[in-house]
Amino acid sequence: MVRQHGMTLEEFRRIQDLLGRAPNVTELGIFSVMWSEHCSYKSSRYYLKKLPTEGPRVLQGPGENAGVVDIGDGMAVVFKIESHNHPSFIEPRQGAATGVGGILRDIFTMGARPIALMNSLRFGAADHPRTRFLVNGVVDGISNYGNCTGVPTVGGEIYFDPCYNGNILVNVFCLGLVPSDKIFLGNASGVGNPVIYFGSKTGRDGIHGASMASSEFDESSEEKRPTVQVGDPFAEKLLIEACLELMNEDWVVGIQDMGAAGLTCSTFEMAGRGGTGIDLELSRVPKREEGMTPYDILLSESQERMLVVVHKGMEEEALALFHKWDLDAAIVGEVTDKPVVRIFENGNEVVNLPVELVVDGALDLKRPTKKPGYLQKVDHVNLTDVPDLARGDETLKKLLASPNIANKHWVYEQYDHMVRLNTLGLPGSDAAVLRVKDTKKALALSVDCNSRYCYLDPFHGAQIAVAECVRNIVCSGGEPIGLTNCLNFGNPEKPEIMWQFEQAVSGMGEACKFFDIPVVSGNVSLYNETIGEAIYPTPTVAVVGLLEDSTYHTTQWFKEEGDLVGLIGLTVEELGGSEYLSVMCERVEGKPPHLDLPLARTINNLCLSLIKDGLVVSAHDCSEGGLGVALAESCISHPHAPTGAVLDVESTIRNDACLFGESQSRILVSFSVENRTAVEEKAKAVGVPFKVIGKVGGDSLVVNVNGEEFINEEVSYLKKLWMGALESYVR
């Protein structure tokens, strides 16, 4: 029985000792979900303390439904990223859809109107037989759910790699906007206050979803399909509107959605944060079917449900409001002073548990770590057996048409990315940019992680993820103000996986401290393994940036014929972990490119000041595929007609490293001839490597290296390749 609940004997003994008796089956079920990895963070909590979570703008750090960061003008942003990996692998459409639903609820629960969604998706190799099915299902699920709720999906990333063949990743980010003095928290306080359930009815779906997400997959994973919930985006839309309307009144004490571990989790967590107890009567819970046991009701993960504590005397008004929105709603309990949750079924007590034991009782595990043996084999690359390139045309074309680099319009055109009229920067540039209505401000959002780097060196890989995400924000004209992370790893019971985790979190923490960006929310997803094969460590980060003036908004594409093209940053001979080595040589080896944090910061500051002074008209981060791909993208990503460019690059390194290496902290900018001196002087003043490398114009991308032609391709053809590759694959 204990093992069926995914618990160890040790954990069971601990429950017995602390409770002073054996739990009944319902209580055991409660412990199994609340102490699961998914809800308790028992393997990760120790390390997560290393992340910086504070800053002058932070109004709410980790521990609530989402983090909150002040943006001035009496407004704040609420944001978080969360995984829905396991359900999406089993049932991609509903798994991804309910992932969107869950993160939306985390945001509007805090009183914020959700205004943007993003996602970070990882699929197996493009030629794996299940990949096409999974891509279509996940994208359809996100599209269907997000579009219906009227929250635009404004950006994201998609990568394909064989390491995700047996375990895809679906990480969903949401951001909401809230008056900074109207933030709602998930606590139950005020003895005698009524506890109201509202939203969809409770059914038998999703029972033990949290526990499923806390174990590896094996051959029988298909049998877990019934633990995946089914989403109802229309109900979610009603919840959003009803909640925001409710919060306009002064009735609410605390509010929380029912996510993982459903009614159980919200009841215990709300009591835990309030330092109170709750009495709950299950017969009043709106149910979808007859004959549900307390166990079913408490552990169901039916979607689109909320729990709210309102001030006594306001319950009838609240119920009337929910009925206006045609939502089920009922008073199901009351706040009590003793920190105990008592649950009744028709007056008979079925659960009686101390709040703290359930919420904080799981032992923090400091699991053993061990540097994995594979690193010895892969952490270096011998370039002597990789012949250098005489010309780069074929390589560039192959990279632009490879699924990781190809344009993702097939995906984002399935998402409504414009609704609510805020999206200034549509998908297809470094970051999404949204205006903040009634202010001059705008927000820039980006999500990023190169998991190949993290596989080769989790510490520096995680640092690069932060640095690159920050650079995306900077290139769009924003200053980073907060970060949220989704840490996707394998089975933490394996010391090698824990080592990856420890390294990645340390690296991320160090980078965040260096850039002075608080981590205000996040999510840990472990056990991303199938039949013992773990994914690459994937510590995905999403960074939110602020543009004090929305006119700072800058895009990646070249604008005018005759403009000059400049490269900020230094190119060195680094091919380790590159897309080039992977696509052209099928090799995943080497050290990820070196990241010089102080240089990165100086370059970011330079780029921002160039943008704010109106000196540059485009800025684009060099990432996967290096300078060559960045140049091509700046030529062909213009929403209307592509434009050519002629570049003369001086190099003392291998040609392939020069054009396709992924040296960090490089930004490609373009500016008018008149501004050349000003740009050069600014770069010189801060001591940053900067070179004018060419000119915008013509119908072709021409790159000469040391005076010899290396690439010469018509941009209209490059655009066709880049735009069409993903679509022709997934169809």
């Binding site: 219906c148 709720t149 985006p233 839309k237 399935q414 990315h417 414009m418 609704v419 009229l421």
Partner: protein
């Protein structure tokens, strides 16, 4: 000039339409709740916005046609009031039989969100007077069930009465299959009723009418409506 924006529980472009009418065109604008049983006669224009009226798990707009507010809207339209249905609003108008034909799944079987060129086929309507003859507007679409269908007889009537107002086209106005994003019969993107006071279109003019973006093609439609109402010419 009084405008009303209908709010079904699943409307999600209601705020956008309200914003454009009220804050960009500075018109008196009110919300109209779907459960309300109200006299709409004080309005000059009713907008049915985009979204998913009642979830639209069945055909889009199939449930909305039975809503309380639609009884009022039908009455309003029958007495000559101007009604503009955008996206889901167009679907609702078709289901409510205020406009002929049907809107079915896109032939791509996918939701499509992107800006597309549409050709204005009739500039003598109360909704398009400000669009120069045969001009091409760039307007975003965002729908899953936007493929317009009508039987050949119905199509002939539409064409004869010049009820086809917008067609999907290429950048230079070419109306061909290549530039038909969703499989609509005759590339039809928007139509008007015979009386000329009810128009439905799948593209979202409210998404290109705010000066925060360079593309303001959608303003032409709102300006046309305002001008025709101000000049007092009945539709």
């Amino acid at each position: 000039m009084n405008c009303g924006v209908v709010v079904f529980p699943g409307s999600n472009c209601d705020h956008d339409c309200f914003h454009i009418l009220k804050h960009v065109f500075k018109l008196h604008t009110e919300w109209i709740w779907h459960k309300g049983d109200m006299d709409l006669s004080r309005f000059d224009l009713i907008v049915l916005p985009g979204g998913f009226s009642y979830g639209d798990y069945l055909r889009a707009g199939a449930i909305a046609q039975f809503s309380t507010v639609m009884k009022d809207v039908i009455r309003f339209a029958e007495s000559g009031g101007r009604v503009l249905g955008i996206c889901n609003g167009f679907q609702v108008l078709v289901e409510a039989k205020l406009l002929p034909g049907a809107l079915i799944q896109n032939n791509t079987q996918k939701f499509i969100c992107k800006t597309v060129p549409v050709r204005v086929e009739n500039t003598s309507t109360a909704f398009t007077g400000e669009c120069a003859g045969e001009s091409v507007l760039n307007i975003p679409i965002a729908h899953h069930q936007g493929s317009y269908f009508i039987d050949p007889d119905g199509l002939r009537q539409l064409e004869e009465n010049r009820q086809v107002v917008f067609r999907y086209c290429g950048p230079a106005g070419e109306v061909t299959d290549e530039f038909n994003p969703n499989g609509s019969v005759g590339n039809i993107a928007g139509i008007i009723n015979e009386a000329g006071n009810v128009m439905g279109l799948m593209p979202h003019p409210e998404r290109c009418a705010d000066p925060a973006w360079p593309n303001l093609d959608g303003q032409l439609i709102f300006k046309s409506i305002i001008k025709s109402l101000q000049s007092g010419v009945s539709a």
